[in-house]
Amino acid sequence: MPRDNSIVVEQLVREFKKGPRAVDGIDLYVAPGEIYGFLGPNGAGKSTTVLMLTTLLPPTAGTARVGGYDVRKEGPKVRSVIGAALQEAALDPLLTGRDHLKLQTMLQAIPRAERKPRQNELLDRVGLTDAAGRKVGGYSGGMKRRLDLALALVHRPSILFLDEPTTGLDPQSRTALWAEVARLAREDNVTVFLTTQYLEEADVLADRVGIIDHGKIVAEGTPTALKEEIGRPSVHVIPCREEDRPRILSLLTRFGEKLGDDRDLAVRLRDGVGMVDVIRAMDADGVVVDDVELRAPTLDDVFLAKTGRTLEGAATGQDGAPVR
């Protein structure tokens, strides 16, 4: 019988003593082999959700089944089918990359004869073979994250939790990690639950996205569907001369709703209006511009529409997750 590597959550709640309701009755379903992006600002409840789904924090109410097992009643079974790379690569700076993998293979009960080959395979997969003998304290952020991923994969989990895996990474390291995560889902049918603050990450990687804010899921769907829900594209203009700015803004607002602050020359186009209408109007008025750009809706637009704030603007405060 094939292993059930889905995640099913119903009305999950976590309250902290004298604190906020960090997770406030969320429902979600992640299908086997799916990459689910869990998007939200700091303090939205992402990490608290991950801690509950990985059995490290008991829920206050609600149910969650991970890999077919109840997180509340079958913690050891849940842990046997999941791998997790939690926020901030939790590594020992005095141990080498290989020391970490050796420890993990022993604790994960990998048979003795298979430990070394598994270590080598994972080091090779994450590109750390040459650095395996170096202490982790000297690793770059990207190398630490890759080792973190390798450690999460030691026991061949069918469900992988990645809590903000690319925070602080340079673009090259971020892209490499995305490629490996995508490969795990596509080739090994690993279900991936990925939390992120990065819209691009969710957009590129996730099959479906859930947006959480103040402990509640405010939107869920494929990135394309969510953006289509917002629908209309926006037009962004860079003027040639600063003194034309009020005139251009006045022209633009004939075609849609203004976006951004006073300095931005951007509008969300109304239904039935296209970029060509804007350009024709500028031409007719004799407006000269440096650049005109048509932008499709982004997940930030979705977040703005659902919460009234941009994701960047909402990214203040601390997550409700406890310090562990």
Binding site: L56, L57, P58, I82, L95, L103, L107, A109, V323
Partner: protein
């Protein structure tokens, strides 16, 4: 689930590796007690002329103290290491493996015991090199090493308990001087019978650390003293049991996993 010995072995190995790779924390438990021993045995040599002093070698008398000082250093190191694991999330990483709570504690303490035994061998070697003759002979030295391991279990578990309760390395370091107070109000520098000040003699007699030291001292300068051994092993066992129970309770509280 992997076998408990494998889990304990893996975690003990990590504990030892960590210590070996940070000389700044490995050296103080070896060097400071020996340096204090040498200074005290020079400065307080005249104490041996007190009527009733049990030996004419203050070095032999004071050699017992490093065993307890070293154990106190180990307490701090063990505690700060575990607290750091909690702070950095490494503890959560371990919690996500099939490792048993008992293995987490046992692995940590096994590492401390190994280091405690190495410390004991070092102190004994220093004593022998400086001409101390162990009155209980080779069997006494072997028993001393066993005793050092037992004391390390007690103090290691105490350090683990403090780390699990506070989750902060800084708090452990803040508590360290408090533990040292117990050493200073013990019979570390003078036999209890020769302490002239009544209140100090009373405190030293009420302080279990005095009996931990006197057990070691008996093997070095007296030979086989059943009372001193019983008191020393008794208090060391009691400390180990109480600390292990407290650490297990604190681990249960810290390990919230379902």
């Amino acid at each position: 689930m992997s076998a408990l010995p494998t889990q304990i072995g893996a975690l003990a190995q990590r504990s030892i590796l960590r210590t070996a790779r940070q000389p700044a924390s490995a050296i103080p438990p070896l060097i400071f007690p020996v340096a204090l021993l040498l200074m005290n045995s020079g400065g307080l040599k005249a104490s041996t002329e007190l009527p009733g002093f049990p030996t004419d070698s203050f070095l032999a008398f004071a050699l017992a103290v490093p065993f307890i000082q070293g154990a106190l250093f180990s307490t701090m190191n063990a505690g700060t290491d575990l607290a750091r694991d909690i702070q950095t999330g490494f503890f959560s990483r371990l919690s996500l493996t099939p490792v048993r709570g008992s293995a987490l504690l046992a692995g940590q303490i096994t590492g401390i015991v190994v280091l405690g035994v190495l410390q004991a061998v070092f102190y004994i070697s220093v004593g022998l090199l400086l001409g101390v003759r162990f009155a209980a002979g080779p069997a006494g030295i072997a028993l001393l090493i066993v005793y050092a391991a037992l004391v390390a279990v007690g103090f290691g578990a105490l350090g683990s308990f403090l780390a699990l309760r506070t989750g902060s390395g800084e708090s452990i370091q803040g508590l360290f001087p408090v533990l040292f107070v117990f050493l200073f109000i013990s019979s570390m520098n003078t036999p209890r019978s020769l302490i002239a000040v009544d209140w100090f003699r009373f405190l030293a007699s009420a302080n279990p650390v005095s009996y931990l030291i006197e057990c070691v001292r008996s093997l070095i300068i007296t030979g086989w003293d059943a009372r001193a051994l019983a008191l020393g092993f008794g208090f060391a066992t009691l400390l180990a049991i109480v600390s292990l129970v407290a650490a297990s309770w604190a681990l249960g509280r810290r390990l919230e996993r379902t």
